[in-house]
Every structure is written in structure tokens, then in C-alpha cells.
Subunit: 484 residues, 2 copies
């Protein structure tokens, strides 16, 4: 064996090992079998009460810890985690920053698998807080105990009803179970994104609030969700990288199996300054981010809307292999707007309008009204029916010259109604080509959009958002072709 | 007087005259005092019935015309418009294309002021239809009768409850009265935009469906709405210009008084081809459109969302004179995303984050929580209250270094609620600087957004959309400064 080969072999082994390592032992944060809440409270207004109540709703064994109480919410209370007789998978610390280092020590002594210190007041606040965070770091160093935070909302995992967030559900709605894993450095942004997801019916595999990343960071969780069968796409909100090199190495491995979308904020100098005031971490140069993301197969989102839009399309749909897109519409105008955006490289995504085969046009002609256009964009006109939508999508997806489809649904015309959702759903199910939907209008199309999303079909309320989503599917296809 | 001066004078007189001319006599389409419906029908499914019913709801005198009926909906029916004893301001023709030329002739004979032929089947369908349209054109040539269409939804004017649209209200919701005039070459696009406006509480001054523009076109209506006191901004959806030179001359005059936003679709070759299939007109070169729009003070929108977003902000808000923007948020993350978008010239609008004066920072410090940031972006943190929002906007708008404000409202935090809308509304009312709102989240913030819009305050559900709206206010300020 020559040296070159040996080096390649060692590198490969090292990569696989480090990859395994980063995702090790994180089950305690996703599906713990026992949880203690240190700082559990009887006062309904306190975080220690709200979090306890949320955790009781999970089917996990819960241990409240509070030296001043004997029982909370019908559960026996302990003075310290070390007094709890059983093994603890997870401990949520709802004590002030000052008391957190000692509590972390106790947890390590007890051999707890995972800790989530909720409190703020650490490195994000200045010198004193940084000292407290260093104490935490040195306590867990070399231990098998892992820590998420501090200064974090913690986690929310719909499948196991695990919810460590102190935000009440009425104000901060939780999304249903689904296939998007959301990792956020910012708690408020995470909560706002989940609120959006709940409203639009977008399902969540798990939410991870990274907080100050004294121990665990984005890389470990990306690795974890890579192996999580319920997760189909991973979306991240980051203002800084905990360890940029490691993150990109992990993403390079993971992105071959699962799509990763990242909103890296703090990309301007002033934005980065705002981010450092907000999270206490310093952002790197943005100029390199685009390049390395591309290399590592990470799709970059530029705002909160793109982050979830891209996550949605990647979680729901197969990649598009090619650049030839068909448009099916009942409104000529939105068809033209879409065609412009699709084709243009100035304001647009630089793809192509597919040319239909003669057979496709003939088949389409049979199912549409006489004055409809069977050229691409297919314009079913204001006389479109639910069935015309179903049939024309059916015909279009079979055309070999079509790589993906944009379907524009309008509710203002007389002969379509909410049943169109079920009809197109059936086509999407067996379609050979990805289909992305746009619904333009008000209340009715918002309902259609939500129904489509609930059914696992990508749908957007604007032409541009749908077309950008299609472009992301094309980019994903291009990336995966490298490994085919 | 030298020759040069004479030419200048003549040009000026010519411009003023042509400007007056283009908006003459269009009151009959906006506030007619008498309307006949030719092709009125007793069959509730027929257009001739739906339109008649819509028109009866206006307080106008209505005359159904149908040679086969004596009475429809309790109104005396006439055999022909020429039989109606009174003067007619408006006639809506709900007869097939073939019968339209004769009906138009009858209207001219009767001395009707305005005609709206609804039917399709004219130049958009080919040679035969083009012939019919030519007949219409020659009938009205030289007459004082003006014609809107054919192949059009007609008009919808909330203030006078004038509604010639054949789309039923349940499917195609009509917006409330307001300050946006919407002129659309495409009927379906117009209906979809109005549906959106209705849902988000955006008010309409009037909707004009241009159709095939056999007579009246966008230029005349832009001139008309320039003088309409209820209209604060004019938005247009066009695929082609009826007469590009005239449109730009009119816009150059009007845009000094009122903002004009135009979505010119069909800007790519394939898009234009789709547009010509759809409306039968040919699109010009797009390369020149950007330049001439800028010259004429027309703000260009690139999709249906931008069209209404820009119309909204321009109808509601004064221009921003300057480029220094303050951001007020309770979520650090969305503050950072916004700062990036605001500043960046790559993915962003290339404006500046304002630097606050010492006095502003000191005042802010008094009203926020200790760990809040009083630098720009102001981060009220998750402990923000309604009052903190009100007070910090109040303080920020007074700073001489601030030209405009972006305020980010999140509903997921514990101490804000829907009362924040009333509180910020009060500040906006007397604010020296325009304030644009972003609400990020789900159901609750959508309600806040709608409440703000109903109160005449620009509000958007994404950071990017709000920031693009701010950029449009800055562009408007830059443009108006040329005439100061």
C-alpha cells in the first residue's frame, strides 16, 4: 500500500469516526426516558412551573427538584438531582445563571446524560457571565454528560411531546409532527419560525435552541438529524459558526443524504455587530460563506421566509434533475409573471420553459376548453375546472421534455373549488416530476395552501416564492448528480 | 420671443392639453348616474343576470335591455338602448362578440357616454375576432362615446358600489373602499389581486379592467386617477403598452403628484409570447422599460406581491428623505436579518443603519429593560411590552439622524399583545418619520398585520418585504427631490 492510499484511508476513517462522535449520545435530548426539572415551581407564572407542566404532558418519567417543596403538580419533589434514585436522561435547569454552575456539577456527579440550562446571563452579557459559562464548560469537560445552552429555549420534539420551552403555547404555538428539523441559535427567531410553521401546517421533526453553545453545537445536531428517520430536511438559523470547519465537514457528509438549508445572518459588518450584542459571539467574514456552503452542499437562505420555504420544498419533494419547467395556470397574467421569473437571469432564477412534445399538446387539447393555450405556460383560462387541473398535470408530468412543474391555482374563477386540492394531490402522489404550487389571492387560497402543505405538497402564496423553491430543487438535483 | 422659447411654450401647452384630454369624460366609468345592461338575463347562472344584480346594488338608475323580456328583477326591460327615454352614462354590454359591433353602434346613436363590452372573442382570438374589434373601433371613431374593453371584467368602484364584474362575490371577494387605484390588463390577475386586498384589509379606490383597449387605455385612467382625491397611489398590471410614449408622458406628469407602480410582465421573450397568446397584444423590448420608468418616476414591481406591497406603502406613507433607517425589534435574530438586508448591496437594498444621538440612547435606556440594546437595531428583548414599543418608536422618530423606521413585531413573547397595534398606531399618526412594520409568525401576527393595514399603516409578514417597501419610500423621496 502506497503512502497516498494510506493517507486517504486514514482520512476516511477519521471522518467516519468524527462523524459518529458528533451525533453520539444526543438521544437524551430528543427522546429522554426520564427528566428532572431543577427549579420546578408551584407558582404558575414562573418558568419553573410552565416548563414542568409542559414536560408532564410528555409520557416521560418526570422528577421536580426544589429544596423548598415536597410535591408539585402531584409529583414528589427532590432537594437535589443527586437525591433522585433513578438514572436521569435529561435535566432541565430553570435556576438563575449564578446557581447554574453548581447545578451542572451536581448533574455530572449524578451521571446525568444531558443538561439544558435555560437561564440567560452568561457570555452574552459580558465579563461576569463569561466567567460563569467557563465554570460550566470546565465542569463537563471530559465527562460523558452533554449540555445544550445555556441561554436557550431548549428543545421541542412533537413526536415525544418533549417541550422544554418556557413560552406559553397560546402565545408561541407549537407546530405538529413532521419532517423538518429546525436548529436555531436565536430563541425568539426559533419561536417565530415555529409559530409560522404551526399556522401554515408545516410539520416539525424537532426544534433545537442552541443558545450559547457552551458544549453542544450545530454540527452535532446536524449529524444527529442526518440519522433520524423522521427528518427529511434540516434547517438552521445561525449568526455565527461554533466551529466553521467542523460544521462544513459535517455538512459535506450529511448533505449527500439529506438537504440542509442555512440562514447565516450577521453577514454585514453592522449586522454582525448587532448579532454580537445579541448572542455574544463574533461573526466571521461573510465573503467566504457562499463558497464553502456551495462546496458543502448547504443551500443558503437569506431570510426567515426563504429558510422555511426551502426547507418545505426539500422536505416534501424529490430534487429536479434538469432545468425544463412546465407551468400550468388558469390565469394568463400570473402565467406570464411566472414565465418571466423562471427564465430571466436579471430578476429571476434562470431556468427554462419546457417545450412540450406534439403528443402532450394533442392530449392537452382534448381536456381543455377550445380557446385555452396548450403551449407552455398551459393556460386553462377562467373556464378551468378541478378536473382540467388534474388531467393537465397528469399529461404534463409524463412529457419527457419536462423536468418539473409549477402549478398556479386561483380561486376567483367560477368552476374550481376546494376539491381541486384532493385532485392534484392524487397526481402529485405518483407524478414522475416534482410539482410546486402557487396560490394567488386571499382567504380561500390560503386555506388551499395550508391543505396542500398538510398533505406534504409544497405550496406558496406568491409566484416568486414558488419559483425560488423550484430553483432550490434544481440546485439540489445538480448537487446530487456529483455523487451519482 | 425667440424660436426656442416658442417651441418650449407650445410643447408645454400641448402637454397640458393632451394631459387634460386623456382624463376627460371618464366619470361615466367611475360614478355613472344611469346604467343600462344590454343582455340582462333572468337566468341566475348567466353573466347578464349576475352583472345586473351587482349593478342593482349601486344606487344608480338601472335599465335592463333584453328584447325577449318585459321585466327582470322588478325593473322594466327595454328592447334596445335606443328605446330608453333617459340619458345613459354607462352601458354594459353582456352580449356575445358577434352582436357587440351592432350594440356599440346603437349606443353611439343613443349618445351614451361610456360602453363596457364584457365578452371575449375579439383580437385575442385571431383574425375573425380582430375584424369584430375593428368594427367597434370605427363605430366610436370621432364620437364622444368612450369604450372600455372589450374582453374585460369592467370596473369595480367601492365608493359608489359600482360593480360590472361577472365573477360572483363569494369566489372573487371585493376589497373595501380605500386609496389604491388598480388598473389591470388581465382580468384574472386583477381579480386575484383584489381577493388579496380584501383579505389583508387593503382598500381600493377603483379597479379598471382594461381588456383589449379598443379605445380607452392605461394612460387615460392614470390621468383620471391623478385628479381623483380618493386615490393616493396608482398600481398597474400591464403586459404591453397601448402607446408607450403617451403612457410615459402621462406618468411623468402624474408621478410628481401621485406615486405610480407598474408590474410590466412579458419581459422575457417566452413570457412575451405567453402574453401575446393571452391578450393578443405584442410586448415591446424590455431592456428600455427600466430606464424610461425611472425617467417617468414609475416604480417598477417584478411580481404581483411587489405590486401591492409597493402600492400599499406609497398609498399609506410619506416618502423617506434620506437613507438612514432605524430598526426597533424584540427579537435579536430578526433584527440581524433585517440589518443585513437593509445594508447589503448584494442581497439587500443598500441603505444605512442610522447612528443614534447620545440623547436618543439615553432616553431609550430609560424605557427598556437593563440588558436591552439601545444601539441600532434597538432590541427590546423577549421582555418587551406594548408600552416599550410605543415609547421606543416615539424616541427614535425624533432623532435627527433617523430618516425612516422599520419596526419588527413578534407575538411569541410573553408581555406584548394585540393592544400593541393601537399603541404604535398613535405614534405613527404624529411621527415625523415613516414607520413600516413587519410581523413574523403565524395566526396572531397575521391578525396584527391586517389591523395595521386597516388603520392605514404599512405592515408586511416578512422582513424582506418590509425592507423592500422602505427602499421604495426612499426611491420616491429621491425622485420627488428633483422637483423640490
Amino acid at each position: 500500500m502506497v503512502w497516498g492510499h494510506k493517507i486517504l484511508l486514514f482520512t476516511a476513517i477519521f471522518k467516519i469516526l468524527s462523524y459518529l462522535l458528533y451525533s453520539m449520545n444526543l438521544d437524551c435530548f430528543i427522546k429522554p426516558r426520564s427528566i428532572a426539572v431543577v427549579g420546578a415551581s408551584r407558582d404558575p407564572k414562573k418558568m419553573g412551573h410552565i416548563i414542568l407542566k409542559h414536560l408532564i404532558e410528555s409520557k416521560t418519567k418526570i422528577y421536580p427538584v426544589n429544596p423548598k417543596a415536597k410535591e408539585i403538580e402531584g409529583l414528589r419533589c427532590y432537594s437535589n438531582v443527586t437525591d433522585i434514585p433513578n438514572q436521569l436522561d435529561l435535566v432541565v435547569l430553570v435556576v438563575p445563571a449564578k446557581q447554574t454552575p453548581q447545578a451542572v456539577k451536581d448533574c455530572c456527579k449524578k451521571g446525568v446524560r444531558g443538561i439544558i440550562p435555560i437561564a440567560g446571563g452568561f457570555s452574552e452579557t459580558g465579563e461576569k457571565g463569561r466567567g460563569l459559562e467557563e465554570q460550566i464548560k470546565s465542569s463537563i469537560k471530559g465527562k460523558k454528560t452533554r449540555l445544550l445552552g445555556p441561554n436557550t429555549l431548549g428543545v421541542y420534539v412533537p413526536r415525544s411531546n418533549l417541550d422544554t420551552m418556557f413560552l406559553v403555547k397560546e402565545r408561541a404555538p407549537r407546530p405538529k409532527e413532521g419532517s423538518l428539523a429546525l436548529i436555531s441559535q436565536s430563541g425568539a427567531t426559533g419561536a417565530a419560525l415555529m409559530d409560522y410553521m404551526k399556522f401554515y401546517g408545516l410539520g416539525l421533526a424537532a426544534f433545537i435552541g442552541l443558545g450559547n453553545r457552551a458544549d453542544l453545537d450545530e454540527s452535532q445536531f446536524v449529524s444527529y438529524f442526518a440519522k433520524d428517520k423522521k427528518t427529511h430536511a434540516i434547517v438552521l438559523y445561525l449568526e455565527t459558526f461554533s466551529n466553521g470547519k467542523r460544521f462544513l465537514e459535517v455538512c459535506r457528509e450529511v448533505s449527500r443524504q439529506k438537504p440542509i438549508v442555512c440562514l447565516k445572518a450577521g453577514r454585514t459588518e453592522r449586522g454582525a455587530r448587532a448579532a454580537s450584542l445579541h448572542t455574544g459571539a463574533l461573526a466571521g467574514k461573510d465573503t467566504v460563506v457562499n463558497g464553502v456552503f456551495k462546496q458543502a452542499g448547504v443551500i443558503r437562505a437569506w431570510d426567515e421566509e426563504e429558510l422555511l420555504d426551502y426547507g418545505e420544498v426539500l422536505a416534501f419533494s424529490k430534487p429536479i434533475y434538469g432545468r425544463k419547467i412546465a407551468i400550468v395556470t388558469c390565469g394568463g397574467g400570473v402565467g406570464v409573471i411566472s414565465a418571466d421569473y423562471l427564465i430571466s437571469t436579471v430578476k429571476g432564477v434562470g431556468l427554462e420553459l419546457a417545450e412540450f412534445s406534439k403528443a402532450t399538446k394533442e392530449e392537452l387539447r382534448k381536456v381543455v376548453v377550445p380557446f385555452a393555450s396548450v403551449e407552455n405556460p398551459v393556460d386553462l383560462t377562467g373556464n378551468a375546472t378541478n378536473e382540467m387541473y388534474g388531467k393537465s398535470l397528469e399529461i404534463t408530468q409524463k412529457d419527457k421534455g419536462v423536468d418539473g412543474i409549477l402549478c398556479l391555482l386561483l380561486s376567483q374563477i367560477p368552476y374550481t373549488d376546494e376539491r381541486v386540492v384532493k385532485i392534484v394531490q392524487r397526481v402529485v402522489k405518483h407524478s414522475k416530476k416534482p410539482i410546486v404550487f402557487t396560490t394567488v389571492g386571499g382567504k380561500v387560497v390560503q386555506e388551499w395552501q395550508i391543505k396542500l402543505i398538510r398533505a406534504g405538497i409544497p405550496a406558496y402564496p406568491s409566484t416568486l416564492r414558488a419559483i425560488k423553491a423550484i430553483r432550490v430543487l434544481v440546485d439540489r438535483g445538480d448537487y446530487l448528480r456529483n455523487f451519482a
